[in-house]
């Protein structure tokens, strides 16, 4: 739908332009928000100077660890639970209430237990992300047609081989949806945790700049996070669509 795309881009451009105008005219005072063009300029300067390269790298590494761990643990747990219906039934209320629990409430506890290193942040990202992978893996595995499972039995595949060669590949698109959510949740978890308390990272730099009334730096880094997360999510979305259309043709 290129038509919808054009209107969408137009809306975003108009919104940003309006913000720019309101800031330039002083309707929105500069100590509240700086014009978007100034944000972009400041971001460009910061990135070019490499001032925050350490923080950006630290955040990305933590997000990356959380994502990979959540993917691995989520697929493993989902596959195991699918083969153990009694456990799954017992845990079902946990799945249903998991995202209702304010996960950040556990952050102080994690800090007390593990100290103020990177681990508590990674843990929050992981905890937020892993359940999405588990739920979507289960959802995918539930849809594997019985005939494929029978074929696996005919070929005398063991449970592990059957999971690896038949069930997980069939469930792949659903698992991918879980991965996509895991990426978004890991960013939310890690950056949120950095905001609450941390000693480095993008979230830390934003709250540091906020406390020092350093609006150019603060808005530049906020812009950076928003652009980064939206770009990553959009790319995954496009990739997912391509995977699905390939499968439909096959």
């Amino acid at each position: 739908m290129p038509n919808a795309l054009i209107v969408r881009i137009a809306i975003v451009v108009i919104a940003v332009g309006l913000l720019e105008l309101l800031c330039r005219l002083g309707v929105i005072p500069n100590f509240t928000m700086i014009p978007p063009s100034a944000m972009a300029q400041s971001l460009w300067k910061i990135l070019a100077s490499g001032k925050f390269s350490h923080d950006i790298a630290a955040t990305l590494v933590n997000v990356g660890i959380a994502i990979v761990a959540a993917m691995a643990a989520g697929v493993a747990a989902g596959t195991a639970l699918q083969g153990w219906p009694a456990a799954r039934r017992t845990l079902d209320p946990l799945f249903a209430t998991y995202y209702a629990v304010p996960m950040y409430a556990f952050y102080p506890l994690l800090i007390v237990i593990f100290g103020l290193g990177d681990f508590p942040q990674v843990a929050i990202g992981f905890l937020l992300a892993v359940m999405a992978v588990i739920i979507n893996t289960l959802n995918g595995l539930d849809r594997v047609p019985a005939v494929l499972l029978k074929t696996a039995r005919v070929h005398r595949l063991g449970p592990l081989a059957a999971a690896w060669r038949v069930r997980l590949p069939y469930a792949a698109p659903y698992v991918f949806t879980g991965f996509k959510l895991a990426v978004a949740y890991s960013f939310i978890g890690v950056i949120g945790a950095e905001f609450i308390t941390s000693s480095r990272g993008i979230g830390y730099e934003i709250s540091f700049a906020y406390n020092n009334f350093d609006n150019p730096v603060m808005y530049a880094m906020i812009l950076f996070i928003l652009l980064l997360v939206i770009t990553v999510n959009m790319s995954l979305h496009v990739w997912e669509k391509r995977l699905l259309s390939r499968r439909r043709r096959a």
Binding site: F31, T90, T97, L226
Partner: protein
């Protein structure tokens, strides 16, 4: 039978907690029993009640705004197909960004205190409620609408007999998701820019290394969130089963 699995689960969680406590000891954790005790002490402390009501008021306002604004955005977008198509990716992008990042902006706009907390709770809840509301309206069976046309139903009849029953289950799902997120938003708001409320107490306990307090507050929040979610989930499932 229906209550057996949740019961086993709750017992299981307390067993895991107790075992964890036996492993790490008093340095980092308290036992479930002593946490329950300190929570009941906290709840009977008159100085604690204003904090609870502060959080409750902020959350109630934020959630109410999220529901009203979310429906006002979502319902028309569901009815107007093209507008919905334009807006959906924008809404999804807004849903996936870490909204904590916007916290300084909210603080600069509203100042420290109640309005900032309410706004922060609201922006967390609005997007999921509007996405679910949009899909609820969009997925109404067109045959039903055409039948209504043939029967020359008045707009009021159409709304009461077709639109509401058809869209309500999904809208309730959206409200359930929005409820959890608005609560998280309110608490996050209190953690950063507030001198009162449960989120503030949590931050304070963290900087004082007061494990007992942290655990008691966490337990309170988890029980509250899980309890309300269970109620909404039951309503949600009943509505979906009927549809």
């Amino acid at each position: 039978m229906k209550w057996r699995d949740p019961l086993i689960l709750v017992v299981l969680i307390f067993v895991v907690w107790q075992v964890l406590y036996l492993l790490v000891g008093d340095v980092a954790l308290r036992s479930p029993a002593s946490t329950a005790h300190s929570l009941s002490n906290l709840l009977s402390d008159p100085r604690f009640l204003p904090h609870i009501s502060e959080t409750a008021i902020a959350f109630a306002q934020g959630f109410a705004i999220a529901v009203v604004v979310g429906l006002l955005i979502g319902l028309p977008l569901g009815a107007a197909r093209f507008a919905g198509e334009v807006a959906e990716p924008i809404l999804v992008a807004l849903y996936s960004i870490p909204k904590v990042t916007l916290y300084p902006v909210i603080l600069l706009m509203f100042g420290i205190g109640m309005p900032a907390k309410v706004a922060f709770g609201a922006i967390h809840g609005i997007v999921p409620i509007s996405i679910f509301a949009m899909n609820a309206v969009r997925n109404i069976n067109p045959t039903h609408l055409r039948t209504a046309q043939v029967m020359r139903m008045s707009f009021l009849d159409l709304t009461l007999n077709i639109l509401v029953p058809a869209a309500l289950p999904e809208i309730v799902t959206g409200i359930r998701v929005g409820f959890s997120l608005a609560l998280i938003g309110t608490l996050l708001g209190e953690m950063f820019g507030s001198q009162r409320g449960l989120g503030h107490l949590l931050m304070q306990a963290m900087s004082l290394h007061n494990i007992e307090r942290i655990l008691a507050l966490t337990l309170l929040l988890v029980v509250f969130a899980a309890g309300i979610n269970a109620l909404l989930l039951a309503l949600d499932r009943r509505l979906h089963a009927r549809a």
